[in-house]
Subunit: 478 residues, 2 copies
């Protein structure tokens, strides 16, 4: 019995702003922990029963996903790049088709990557139960024993006594997100589970479910694979074909129509960390209900979440009750925990105000590493840049700016005009305006450098690319 | 009638942390305005009746004080440097003695520099009334018509009806800071004024008051002047003599014992901005009582003060009521306004935790300009440096670090070893470890540069000074 984890990590939300942003969604962030939610998800499926995972993500996050797979030390994973954001049905169908080609009996364990689980042993037991059912042909959803009348999740309705007893049970019905009263009735009744979004089934049973309930999706999904291409370690689905697929959730397209769906109830400290109040609930608190992360000091506070995300940022809360305060180098959020859901609409407001903090994370991840802006002046910008071992920026030039690079760690290979030279720690180079240049790391350790740009125009679109190492169409920097 | 403003600006408090810190107290900060409290105080006394001011400050703040006097464009001011912090009696006596030597009939207007006044015309009228009384030999305190039962101020007791009528009135008694009940009785009675700490008297009447009530202070104060020295535009009092003076307030040493003291009541929107709740009260608020400063967004908030102090820092408050939130590049404070007084003790706690944010401001002011740390790495530090026109750093070298300087605005004169050269915008220089170097601005505009330090030890005490331009004994950087 080979289980292939299918990790969905292309989603994007804003309710955990400022930590989570459009350019850096929460699955890539470390919350209540030092590993990211995606890394924790990957680690959950590294036992001997698991094969290397399939990750489904989009264009923008592919290098972030790849970096975090490397962090966890997983070999042989496949990262599938969706050319457009669709809902979960399309992504799961792609995984089903890919795996069906390899071995139709293999079991797929489809999971989101933006949640936490505190009771790992219990979770592993539920996965084993679900896998056994799947191995016998079942299509299984892991169901979470509800802790509260949550309105942000779908529910699974089961028979009386299903929840208390072990094993897999028939799902009587899938229910969409309920209103508060209905959610309360569900929880009260003891016959409803939260839909975790974790599905377990054999590739061939998954495929036959799509054949039964969404047969029109199959041909375009196959074409998206056939016309897709390997690209620098990613598999890129064909845009023209993938675009024709409907944007539907797997629940809506398949599970709600599946009459023989099963569920394995689990009580495993599951949280989707949907907003800061959930992050607070899932965190370790002191006797007064206070969680403190990073360089934060809570004085006489209660039921609050204080988080400093930036090096050298001291957050102080005095006498706060029921408050979330999150401090980053470029943004600070303060709100009552009970109003944490409103963060999403406030990010919309920031976007309308054209505040770059709405979507951009202070650390911008690129195929070759990342950069952070340290200082923005009228005619200059200072950035800190990290280039990964083996990585290389495109050969480029700028019309309006010169650049000074000071290497502060590692050794960079720098091309300036026709000259190629190594620049080591404590050395610097100057790239005059208009000169073709390239930055590469041919060494074994990351290179860190400080870039000082000067010029009348410092926009990120002042770039001419002569050779692009990462097949990027969008504008990347520097 | 010549009035000489005597501006006390050597104090240091922490209740407005993180904006106000030991290295940058609130009189130098811009609160609810774009000019600092000291600058606003200086501007109040630029009319034709005023002579150039005397400023009393200490060692640490003398360049800040001098910079702000220049900002206001005042010529001929005298900045007196106290070698040790004493209370107000010693500082005022020094001013009295200095002015008495010039002209014993001149009127001194002694004032703190860390408060705001919103009704300037009314204030000017009160000053004129007080000056007329002083010109007739009176020792006058400006008394503030109390707005609330404040326990943080001393009170002046006057006759019935004194407050409502114009002119100067006898002070029946000076009262120390009262408890809440007593303060409420004072305000209720209509016979008490807040002691503003603004005093008006002729130099000779001030001196005779000291002769009556604190005669022992006079000889050491005279010696502190006689043995003092002019130093780069400052007058530095002799430490050995000044140290022997008692640490007493002018109220305690003189006014409380003065039987013929007068007061001029004023209702001028006076606030000492003692803590964030006072800053909020003195600020302009919207219909919901919300004040927003800098890059801050208040969503559905009420009775709150949101302040972003850093470039590029977005502060967001949602649904806050009665909260102060202040965000800086290195520190964030969140607290109920009604607990704003506790900030002082929290700064103590930060100090115990050795958090540099307790006392150090992100922008470090130096005689030659300022610097800000942009990025602290393991073996490197990036700083932004501003050197004022005509200013010059000491000739120096470092044992453990090299420095790269990239000029981003203006032109610097750089000495490296025996070579002196001009380095302009978009040019850079490298200072190898151990090499003597000096940075100067011989131009007419400020020089801004980015400094990247690299080395195994980057402490600010790795400095050998060969020639020091500013008679500094303490360690200054770079």
């Amino acid at each position: 019995m080979a289980i292939v984890p299918v990790i969905l990590c292309g989603g994007s939300g804003t309710r955990l702003w400022p930590v989570s942003r459009a350019s850096f969604p929460k699955q890539f962030a470390a919350l209540n922990d030092t590993t990211s939610l995606l890394e924790a998800t990957l680690k959950r499926f590294t036992g001997p029963e698991f094969e290397a995972p399939i990750l489904l993500t989009n264009e923008e996050f592919r290098f972030l996903a790849s970096e975090q797979v490397q962090n966890v030390g997983i070999e042989g994973s496949r990262i599938i790049v969706e050319p457009q954001r669709k809902d979960t049905a399309a992504a799961i169908l792609i995984a089903v088709l890919l795996e069906h080609r390899r071995n139709p009996d293999n079991i797929l364990l489809v999971t989101p990557s933006d949640h936490t689980i505190s009771a790992l042993e219990e979770f592993n037991a539920a996965v084993r139960t679900a896998s056994s059912s799947a191995d016998m042909g079942g299509i299984v959803t892991l169901g979470v024993v509800p802790e509260r009348a949550e309105t942000a999740f779908g529910y699974l309705e089961v028979h009386d006594n299903s929840i208390a007893s072990g094993g897999a049970h028939p799902v009587l019905r899938f229910h969409e997100k309920p209103d508060v009263g209905t959610a309360a009735e569900y929880v009260e009744s003891g016959r409803y589970l939260w839909n975790s979004g974790v599905f377990v089934f054999r590739a061939k049973n998954g495929l036959s479910a799509f054949e039964r309930h969404a047969p029109d999706m199959i041909a375009p999904a196959r074409r998206a694979i056939t016309n897709g291409a390997n690209d620098l370690g990613f598999f890129r689905l064909a845009r023209a074909d993938y675009e024709t697929l409907p944007s539907q959730s797997f629940d809506y397209a398949i599970m709600e129509k599946e009459t023989s769906a099963l569920t394995v109830p689990m009580d495993v400290g599951w949280s989707d960390l949907g907003a800061w109040d959930n992050v607070w609930s899932a965190s370790e608190t002191d006797a007064n209900g206070v969680s403190v992360f990073g360089n934060a000091l809570a004085v006489d506070c209660s039921n609050s979440y204080l988080r400093s995300e930036a090096d050298g940022m001291q957050l102080v809360g005095i006498g706060l009750d029921g408050i979330v305060a999150v401090a980053m180098s470029d943004a600070v959020l303060v709100a009552p925990l009970e109003r944490a859901q409103e963060v999403r609409s406030v990010v919309e407001t920031l976007r309308e105000h054209q505040a770059k903090q709405a979507d951009e994370h202070p650390r911008c991840h690129r195929p070759w590493g990342w950069y952070e802006t340290l200082c923005l002046g009228g005619r200059f910008t200072v950035k800190r840049i990290m280039v990964r071992p083996g990585a290389c920026l495109s050969l480029q030039s700028h019309f309006h700016r010169s650049e000074h690079w000071v290497v502060v760690e590692g050794t960079a290979e720098v091309t300036i005009g026709d000259e190629v030279k190594l620049v080591s720690e404590n050395e610097s180079v100057y790239i005059p305006l208009g000169t073709k240049h390239r930055l590469a790391n041919t060494g074994k350790l990351p290179v860190y450098l400080i870039e000082v740009q000067t010029g009348a125009y410092l926009g990120e679109d002042d770039i001419v690319r002569y050779a692009e190492a990462y097949n990027r169409s969008e504008v990347d920097v520097p």
